[in-house]
């Protein structure tokens, strides 16, 4: 019978990706509800020494597939290796990070073993009560009808994900095929504090590769530096209005943006004043943005500005004027001086990063 949760450990140049630790953290919670174990599948070349890190992050055991062919990610060798692992161990659940690797590998393998795969999940549940708690807290979904269909003893993986550009959420199940597979959005699940010295099994799994498995030819691997900005693609925007006082203050905003992996943007007034380039202007005459976080700093919230950012997932506004219109569309409004608060925020974020990495 299919059993246990398998987390696909993603590594690049021997470094385990952050999302892997998040998945292990989540998997330990799900495993407890199933009374099953958590395994990490670690594929790469000379990678075995990373096993202990995975065990300390929540894995009960690690299955290691090592081969020079797995040094750099290529679809077919990885798909072949993972398929062999799945056929051999018969997992109940397999989790991937929804990264450009996970989203390439997972569908290929799902099709090969003919099972269901749910993409880009932001919430996972086994236990029905926990699932209903989640639904009650975040939605108006009709849990009574779900209870009627699934019952309260259901132990399948309930995979919740956004669709329609985040306008709607859907919960998906794969009841009849195993393993149940999902890719999970990075940054959503919580890793657990590493348990130093934790014991776990490390098992080497041998996959026979042939030259034909390397069916493409990687000519060049190029590590990229930052790309050109497109504020409509940014996940976080730190936006400055007249209240920032001077063009130089954008440097402060940029520090915040850099710490959050975002970009700086602007109201129209500052663009017209030549404080910042026009392609960073948000608003009716600029760009319409919907980032995960929009920080409006010293922006009063003129109607033409709000039209360009009101669909942001979360808005934090800082403004001296407590009647500023921007507060009407903000999740969190801070009445105060950006010139005082932003430098303190930079410090706090620096500290936060240092503590949590």
């Amino acid at each position: 019978m299919s059993k246990d949760l398998y987390v696909i450990a993603e590594q690049r140049d021997g470094e385990i990706a952050k999302v892997t630790f998040e998945l292990l953290g989540e998997a330990t919670v799900l495993a407890a509800d199933l009374n099953e174990k958590v395994y990490a599948v670690l594929m790469g070349d000379k990678i075995k020494d990373k096993s202990q890190e995975l065990i300390e992050a929540g894995a009960d055991g690690v299955i290691v597939v090592e081969d020079p062919m797995l040094a750099e990610y290529v679809t077919e060798p990885y798909a072949k290796a993972l398929t062999a692992v799945i056929k051999n161990y018969d997992p109940n659940i397999v989790l991937f990070g929804a990264t450009s690797i996970g989203r390439d590998l997972a569908p290929r393998v799902a099709a090969r073993v003919h099972t269901g795969l749910t993409a880009d999940c932001t919430h996972l549940d086994i236990d029905m009560n926990k699932y209903f708690d989640f639904l009650h807290a975040t939605s108006t979904a009709d849990t009574a009808s779900i209870e009627k269909r699934l019952g309260m003893d259901d132990k399948t993986l309930k995979m919740t994900r956004p669709a329609f550009g985040g306008n709607v959420m859907a919960t998906i199940r794969c009841a009849d095929y195993r393993p149940q597979m999902a890719t999970v959005r990075p940054g959503v699940m919580k890793k657990i504090a590493p348990q130093a010295g934790k014991q776990g099994t490390v098992e080497e799994f041998k996959v026979e590769f042939t030259a034909a498995d390397m069916n493409v030819d990687i000519k060049e691997v190029v590590k990229d530096t930052k790309k050109a900005v497109d504020i409509t693609e940014a996940k976080v925007l730190v936006s400055g209005g007249r209240g920032i006082g001077s063009p130089e203050f954008y440097q402060e905003l940029k520090k915040v943006a850099d710490l959050l992996g975002g970009e700086i943007s602007s109201s129209r007034a500052n663009v017209d004043a030549g404080w910042i380039e026009r392609d960073r202007q948000v608003g009716q005459t600029g760009k319409t943005v919907r980032p995960e976080l929009y920080m409006a700093c010293g922006i009063s919230g003129a109607i033409q500005h709000i039209a360009g950012m009101e669909n942001s997932e979360c808005v934090i506004a800082i403004n001296k004027n407590d009647t500023a219109a921007i507060f009407e569309v903000s999740d969190l409004g801070i009445v105060g001086d950006v010139k005082v608060i932003i430098p303190k925020l930079v410090e706090a974020l620096d500290k936060y990063k240092a503590e949590n990495n």
Binding site: T285, I303, Q304, A307
Partner: protein
């Protein structure tokens, strides 16, 4: 009776809309400010067929009809009136003269490059002293038997596209004594293929205007400009008929431009009133606003139906002159009313140049003037009513 657009027309409308939103809208404000039309934009319009819609594929055109052309005019004019007139003068004034009256050879030589994307055209009828009274032409074309050429002398004003156009259909007197029967039409190259100005042709700077400021609209003078006799469209003396027929069709384009200007302004106003809060609620929640918008949309729809009807009559090969005049008379009036109301709804912001309704209001005025004033439209319409 079917008020639905065909699938082909719907998809064309969609394409023109996307083109206008992505290509025209971002440039409109700056082109208006600088009073210079973007040559990159013009090249793109040629590339995607916007400059050859109602002409046969045989000559490199799109193979569409006048309704298609009207749809394009509406969509581009929603974003920018100047773009509307740039397409219109090229398509329904310049090209139509050659398409309707040119010989096969003339069509191959002159129409093809205009609609396959290589050249842009204009139309020289209006003179400083011959506006609504187009018959009062003073430009002359004298035949030189020795070279089988005409020698053109005179001056035209308000020649749209002339600042960059390659080809102009010019009207000139070949017989001063014959009144309207003394006018002939000529295809005059304003430049050669390398872009050098034709000897004797002088084009002024862009004339400073209230609206459609991005359009190129200049004075063009012709001093001993030699044109081969083979460039004459139709017979000697047919020029006035050629000019009037082109204008009849052109009016459908201007009606569509008017509808576009009005709908564009209304769309802006609708977005605004939903956002703008006064007295604690969006101004869209006030019935005065709602009723005003209802009136505006109704007028626009009526103007659109008149425009489409005129286009359909033309496409059916029937007499469309009066229908085109009614469409232009009504639609241009609606454009002015609606743009004015849109500015009013948006208050101080509407009056600011940052918002496109200000430009639309300035652009709208010309629709009551060019290609026949509203007064001339009434002459055409009443003339068809058998009053005498």
């Amino acid at each position: 009776m079917d008020f639905k657009l065909s699938k082909t027309h719907l998809l064309q409308q969609e394409m023109y809309r996307r083109f206008a939103e992505n290509e025209v809208k971002p440039l409109a404000e700056e082109m208006d400010e600088t009073e210079v039309y973007s040559m990159e934009l013009l090249a793109k319009m040629h590339k995607y067929g916007l400059m050859g819609i109602p002409y046969s594929k045989e000559y490199g055109g799109v193979g569409g009809d006048y309704l298609s052309y009207a749809l394009c005019m509406e969509e581009v004019s929603k974003m920018d009136g100047s773009t509307g007139i740039t397409i219109s003068v090229h398509t329904s004034l310049c090209c139509s003269c050659i398409d309707s009256f040119g010989t096969e050879e003339q069509k191959q030589k002159f129409l093809r490059p205009l609609i396959d994307g290589s050249k842009t055209g204009c139309y020289g009828l209006t003179e400083p002293n011959a506006g609504s009274d187009a018959a009062g032409q003073q430009t002359q074309a004298v035949y030189d038997e020795a070279t089988d050429e005409y020698i053109i002398n005179g001056g035209k004003i308000f020649t749209t596209n002339s600042g960059f156009a390659d080809t102009c259909v010019v009207f000139a007197l070949t017989d001063k004594t014959a009144g309207t029967r003394g006018i002939s039409a000529f295809v005059v190259p304003l430049k050669d293929d390398d872009g050098n100005r034709t000897p004797g042709v002088t084009v002024s700077d862009n004339i400073k205007r209230m609206g459609i400021r991005a359009a190129s609209n200049c004075e063009v003078s012709y001093e001993n400009v030699r044109v081969p006799a083979a460039n004459r469209l139709g017979k000697e003396g047919q020029g006035f008929k050629i000019a009037m027929k082109a204008l009849d069709g052109g009016r459908i384009g201007i009606a569509a431009q008017s509808v576009g200007l009005a709908q564009g302004a209304l769309n802006e106003a609708v977005e605004y009133v939903k956002e703008r809060k006064q007295f604690g609620r969006p101004i869209a929640a006030f019935q005065t606003t709602q009723f005003k918008l209802a009136d505006m949309q109704t007028k626009i729809d009526a103007a659109r139906l008149l425009t489409w009807r005129a286009a359909c009559i033309k496409d059916a090969g029937e007499n469309y002159g009066p229908a085109a005049a009614m469409a232009k008379l009504f639609a241009s009036d609606v454009a002015n009313q609606v743009c004015r109301e849109a500015v009013q709804l948006m208050g101080g912001y509407g009056y600011c140049r940052e918002y496109p309704v200000e430009r639309a209001l300035r652009d709208a005025k010309i629709t009551e003037i060019y290609e026949g004033t509203s007064e001339v439209m009434k002459m055409v319409i009443s003339g068809s009513m058998k009053l005498k």
